[in-house]
Symmetry: C2
Subunit: 282 residues, 2 copies
């Protein structure tokens, strides 16, 4: 595995592969790699000639009160995992190469960015779309891989790619879960033992709610009430930011889960913000 730190070297390397007719799969990450990331990498390796993984903790997508400075990082451990997966290139740029002094440009996907997590994390998705646009221009992938756990992020990136005519296939892969159903996330490292156990309530809530919807109880009010009750049954759930049914394309809350709907949750367990979701059909 080659480790490249300079954007234009990755770009030239990709260009060389593309000129030889090789497809490039790209998995952008912020490191602290877990099974979720590895599933994206495996999928990319299945579908492409070359797989490039980036590790970059993007300051632009963290709010002032958020966890940028304590975001978990272990570049040595991560590189080892990527070597085992036989990733071709690890792109690990320095912040000053991606955001040199005087950096001004932003890419923004309007109102999709204000819903769900966007309402609680001002500017977050603008930071995500800006860095992803940059990484796409540097890496020039044929396909890029994102996890369904970050459903809103995937919807927004698909929209950006379509609106800006970027010639890239966005592939969304299933959420990978711990044995008790907790969605894998680098932020799970913040949970102490007690909180870690409590966090399983999120997945239980999603499963039970989807069963309720499949049994025919589909109104927004009943769904919200049911989810709230399930989540608050766990005392370590300190705050429910959202928990309801949404349109999977517009991310608007829907009146009833009468066609395919997105069940989505954001809660704080102890001090840690966790999100999860599930697609459900009545």
């Amino acid at each position: 595995m080659e480790i490249i730190r300079i954007p234009h070297i990755v770009h030239d390397t990709s260009n060389g592969h593309l000129l030889h007719g090789r497809s490039i799969g790209f998995v952008p990450t912020m490191g602290a790699l877990h099974e979720g990331h590895l599933s994206l990498i495996k999928r990319s390796k299945d579908e492409n000639d070359i797989t490039i993984v980036s590790i970059f903790v993007n300051p632009l997508q963290f709010g002032q009160s958020e966890d940028f400075n304590k975001y978990p990082g272990d570049i040595e451990g991560d590189a080892e995992k990527l070597r085992k997966e036989e990733v071709d290139i690890l792109f690990a740029p320095d912040k000053s190469l991606l955001y040199p002094e005087g950096f001004l440009t932003r890419v923004e996907v309007g109102k999709l960015s204000e819903k769900l997590c966007g309402a609680f994390r001002t500017g977050h998705f603008k930071g995500v779309t800006t860095i992803v646009a940059k990484l796409f221009n540097i890496v020039k992938p044929t396909r890029a891989y994102f996890g369904q756990k970050d459903f809103q992020q995937a919807v927004i990136i698909k929209k950006m790619v379509k609106d800006l005519d970027m010639p890239i296939d966005i592939v969304v892969c299933p959420t990978i879960r711990e044995h008790d159903g907790l969605a894998m996330s680098s932020r799970n490292l913040y949970l102490n033992e007690e909180e870690r156990k409590a966090a399983a309530v999120i997945y239980r809530c999603l499963v039970q709610t989807s069963e309720m919807i499949k049994s025919g109880i589909i109104s927004k009010e009943k769904t919200r009430r049911f989810m709230k009750e399930k989540l608050l049954a766990e005392p370590l759930v300190r705050e429910i930011q959202y928990a309801s049914i949404y349109d999977p394309e517009t991310l608007e809350e829907v009146e009833a889960a009468d066609k395919e709907a997105l069940l989505a949750v954001a809660v704080k367990v102890g001090g840690t913000r966790l999100i999860d979701n599930m697609l459900v059909k009545a």
Copy 2:
């Protein structure tokens, strides 16, 4: 000359050329082609294997009270001019192909977009950077050509390309002028005979101001006063939006033209808004 209306066909055509190692020069326009555009095209033909010109009047960059609906258009005449220049491809997309229903994304170059013309044309440069980002992704040019007449636009596009790691050289070409010095612009077509004559005052003002600066009178106050006096000597100049000395990179007004400075002007002659500029060294 091939005329293509479908974005992905232009994209595939460009890709084919790039895979054969051919360079692509790109001249984005809104049509109503004049000698200024043709000079960009000639330069592109000199420097590239393939030259692509786009004609698209971009609704996103016009304010509500602006001239989108009456912007001059003559696609037949334009195509004829492009054929004479032996342009390879005219890309003339339909609006619904570039902005399908539900289009949401914007590309924005922060505070550079709020200076000079940006202060008088809210949202204008956001519309410009969004369409140019799209066109760049579709056309995949090696080099793209812009006129110095739209100095701020060129600065903003260079910044966008740098910030978003787009692998494109932005080439800024000299302003082409009428015999009396008026900068060529599609909007000159709006001027009646009397206004057309009056409009020459802009260039005279720039030349006289630059001579004054070269002679050592370089303060902002004196420059502003001198330019205002020169411009208002022409009774058909109805409004001065700005006329002063600026930093050519940040577009901030400078206290003194002691190094290379941008002399820039925006005025209304009759009801028509005209801009021009000149680089000057004390």
